[in-house]
Amino acid sequence: MPEKSMRHAINDALSEELARDDSAYLIGEDIGKAGGSFAVTRGLHDEFGGDRVIDTPISEAAIVGSSAGAGLTGSRPIAEIMYADFMGLAADQVMNQAGLFKYMFGGDVTVPLTIRTVNGGPGSNAAAQHSKSLHGLFMHMPGVRVVLANTAYDAKGLLKSAIRSDDPVVFFEHMELYNREGEVPEKSYTLPLGEAAVEREGADVTVVATQKMLHYALDVASSVADDISVEVINPRTLKPLDVETLVESAKKTGRVVVADESVIQNGPASYIARRIEEEAFYHLEAPVEVVGVDDTPIPFSPPLTEAVVPDASDIETAIRGMPRL
């Protein structure tokens, strides 16, 4: 299989879906002529024209709010919010508009809206307002699906499914994974929303990891393989969450680490830990260990960033800290 960057894989997904469905369009800031702030939509404006790849004013609420309205009226909007950090400006439009219409209006309508956004790259030292991982906020909103781009392969297959989904989906890319290459089939494909992937099988410890942490986890799993057999699971979608796959693995290994770049406090890693503890309680050797950001904004200075943001060594420490290994 050819290797592609995640950026390229996402671009392909967008291009294929725009070609496939006339009711789909892209909307966002600088996504058109400029090709996107991170070059993810490059070429699409030329290919599909300004009517289907729409540059907007700097207006996150209107981007998402208008997309909710367009979704109600027969379109399939694909909105881009440049950084997940800016989703706060469109929180109402997700939480009280797009996410609620189907239910409030009696169940018959659909809001086939996808919001693509980017979890921060704390490693790019863009500091506290451009570095957050914020999928946790949206997992708490009924009616909204939450999907992560963790590998190039996932990104393409899941984004296509997100776009085709008749529910609003917030799709989180990751700044530091755009350049990362991975195998992506030439042929068109989709991946189901709600199925986790066992990326590596193992017997001793389960590591559930997202985005950058997934790649660290895989590295660690290889490097400790002589001592410890680590199973690595990529949850892929957080809402719906494939609890079954996670629990099955937890029951097998009895030891679980969850690694996610968000804040731990009421964050996704804590929630995943909770679901595993709930369902696999009597099979666990110890409580689930969580790796994430501990109630701290992301600082600018590289040594500070490194201190705050988890990395491979934190995952390894968590694995090695598991009892009776």
């Binding site: 209107a62 208008s66 367009a70 109600l72 009696g106 529910d167």
Partner: protein
Amino acid sequence: MPDEVAAHAEQLADQLQEMILIREFETRVSSLFEDNELPGFVHLCLGQEAVATGACWAIDDDDYITSTHRGHGHSIAKGLEPDRMMAELFGKETGYCGGKSGSMHIADVDQGMLGANGIVGAGPSLAAGAGLSIEQSDEDRVCLSFFGEGSMAEGVVHESMNLAGVQDLPVVFVCENNQYGEMTPAEDQHNVDGFEARGEVYDMPAETVDGMSVQDVYEATAEAVERARDGGGPSLLICETYRYHGHYEGDPTTYRTDEEVEQWRERDPIDTLEASLVEGGHIDEDEIEEMRAAARDRIDEAVQFARDSDYPDEEAAFEGVYTEEI
């Protein structure tokens, strides 16, 4: 003015009939609410009927509207049935939304009614989206967006009008200036003399309209709708009107004087239209009485329908969150 009336007498009579229906609906909701027959709370548009009727008269069945927490009039004017509306207010399964929405979120997307909305200022962004859909599919539909003058302060209303302006979207923004946002006068919330200047900000024609005159609202909207269908982009209409009741049913309205209410009531959109139709000989008192009786019957039926309907099954509570089981 008499000439105006003569020229449009038939349409005005129909508009009168509709306004009477809206008023009857609202009046009945008021007493049902007082009698504790309705759960939740309700915001009534008594006094504002001419805006809903006049504006919606200027659009077609397959056009869209977005509405507000004060949305019963808009719904009726967009063609929604009082019986299913009333059933929704009762929380019954026969309501437009199966009892899930109540007064504040009544919607019928098939009928182009994109929802009342409990979030002040949310409608205009949805309207911009409907405008984008229309552009995407190259239709010549339009979307009317109703919103209160209070919501003019919300950021997303500004963003949406700006987006509609730069994208030349087929949206008519219909601001209902009923002089208050909740219990606070409009003057304390904005430079009310600056509402029209928003037209220049967003590059769209803006006009202040007598919201107590169904004909004035109709004409201004029709012009804006025609421009929008012709690719001329959005418009802003500021309709000066008044709500006779409080912000919500039960509001003691201590923030305004009886004289003020009286002054506005003298310009009542229904009474004044009746008077000029009668004066011009286009309609007689009996016909008006028939209209009232018809409205009463229709609302009687609606109330009966609502009372007779069942509450939804409990299971329904967990259905309709997602398109597929999740």
